[in-house]
């Protein structure tokens, strides 16, 4: 069979790496917890194991999938991000989950920004959506920071979710939005960060 290679992506703070058996305990802990409530969880150990196996198989079948997000400095896993499209998904999705206790550090913003640029520039995606539970306010807010807008005309998975449409490659290139995302990521990395040559009030 034609094996798929999972690319390794890096940002300033993060390494995105394909899921392996060593990542299963963190995945299991997350999907056993209330944290997974917007992703069909909490799940039983059996369901969790089958889902994790499917995360890996997704890469083989689609040629893209979910990466594990690791902190560069400690290798600690903090969540998952990537492209996701099971059958019945109307469009290709950019999906994310941050593990319990790892939120609020801007990891999801940094990881989604990185993976979105990869999917656009290397995989040739012309756009993407994220299917969000309207009650998942953290994710809705993240989508907005990433420049997504709610697309009420788009088909959703089961009508209980909203489709948030990502800006396409052209809209992102050299945009104020892209600069704003980069600036926000830089501030998470270094709260005292001051960009040089920028007008600051």
């Amino acid at each position: 069979m034609g094996h798929r290679d999972i690319p390794l992506l890096e940002t300033k703070r993060l390494i995105l790496r394909g899921p392996t058996a060593e990542d299963y305990p963190d995945f299991k802990a997350t999907f056993a917890s209330y944290r997974s409530r917007f992703m069909g969880g909490p799940l039983t150990p059996y369901e969790t194991w089958m889902l994790f196996a499917a995360e890996i198989g997704h890469w083989e079948i689609r040629g893209f999938g979910m990466w594990m997000i690791h902190l560069k400095e400690t290798d600690e896993p903090v969540g998952m991000v990537g492209g996701w499209q099971p059958s019945q998904w109307p469009e290709r999705e950019i999906a994310w989950i941050i593990f319990p206790g790892k939120g609020g550090k801007g990891y999801a913003l940094e990881a989604v920004d990185c993976c979105r640029r990869y999917l656009y520039s290397v995989k040739g995606w012309e756009g993407a959506v994220s299917y969000l539970d309207p009650k998942d306010l953290d994710s809705v807010r993240l989508a907005e920071r990433l420049g997504c807008t709610r697309d009420d005309a788009a088909r959703t998975i089961d009508n209980n979710d909203s489709a948030y449409r990502h800006p396409g490659p052209a809209a992102l290139a050299n945009s104020q939005l892209a600069d704003g995302i980069a600036l926000e990521i830089a501030h998470y990395r270094d709260p005292l960060f001051r960009p040089e040559g920028w007008a600051i009030d």
Partner: protein
């Protein structure tokens, strides 16, 4: 860009009338038909939604990456048409690794499952070097129970699965008995 190791490497071979190969997207429609049908009742189904069948198909591949063994898409040696899913299954909440078989409707009545289950058992004993293996069968799945018996397996207790319910454990004869 650094490229990571491959997702998984599934051993592929031909034996008897059948081809044992990695599941692929081309298998989706027949596999979905199986998952959505009454035939999947023995494996916790029916799973009516396409998303469920996709997740299970992807899971077949991921199982190999996580355990180092798994289930093959068993295909017709001549036409490569998929006939069923046979191999070694060991998810969580499972008593031990088992030889599992799921036959698509059109493959029925030709001894395909019998043939493939023997190949999977030989793989467990000879390639993986195991000394014992079981098969789990739902009590009402009399046809699979008959196949387990035909394969020489004997009842060996049960396992209460939190989602699928009671599973009868059939223990296969060990490598020395074969």
């Amino acid at each position: 860009m650094t490229v990571q190791t491959p997702v998984t490497a599934i051993p592929e071979f031909e034996a008897g009338r059948l081809r044992y190969r990695a599941p692929q997207m081309d298998d989706f429609e027949p596999y979905h038909a199986f998952c959505a049908s009454e035939r999947s009742r023995g494996v916790g189904g029916p799973y009516p939604h396409r998303a469920q069948a996709f997740e299970r198909l992807a899971g077949l591949i991921g199982h190999w990456a996580l355990r180092g063994y798994g289930r093959w898409m068993v295909a017709d040696r001549e036409t490569d048409a998929p006939l069923g899913v046979v191999g070694i299954l060991y998810p969580e909440d499972w008593p031990e690794p088992e030889i599992a078989w799921s036959l698509f409707a059109e493959a029925e009545g030709r001894g395909i499952a019998y043939e493939a289950a023997q190949v999977a058992r030989r793989y467990a004993y000879e390639t993986l070097g195991w000394s014992t293996i079981i098969s789990c069968v739902k009590p009402e799945n009399t046809r699979s129970a008959a196949l387990a018996r035909r394969l020489g397996a004997r009842p060996d207790g049960h396992h209460d699965h939190p989602m699928i319910g009671r599973l009868h454990i059939w223990r296969h004869p060990g490598p020395e008995a074969l």
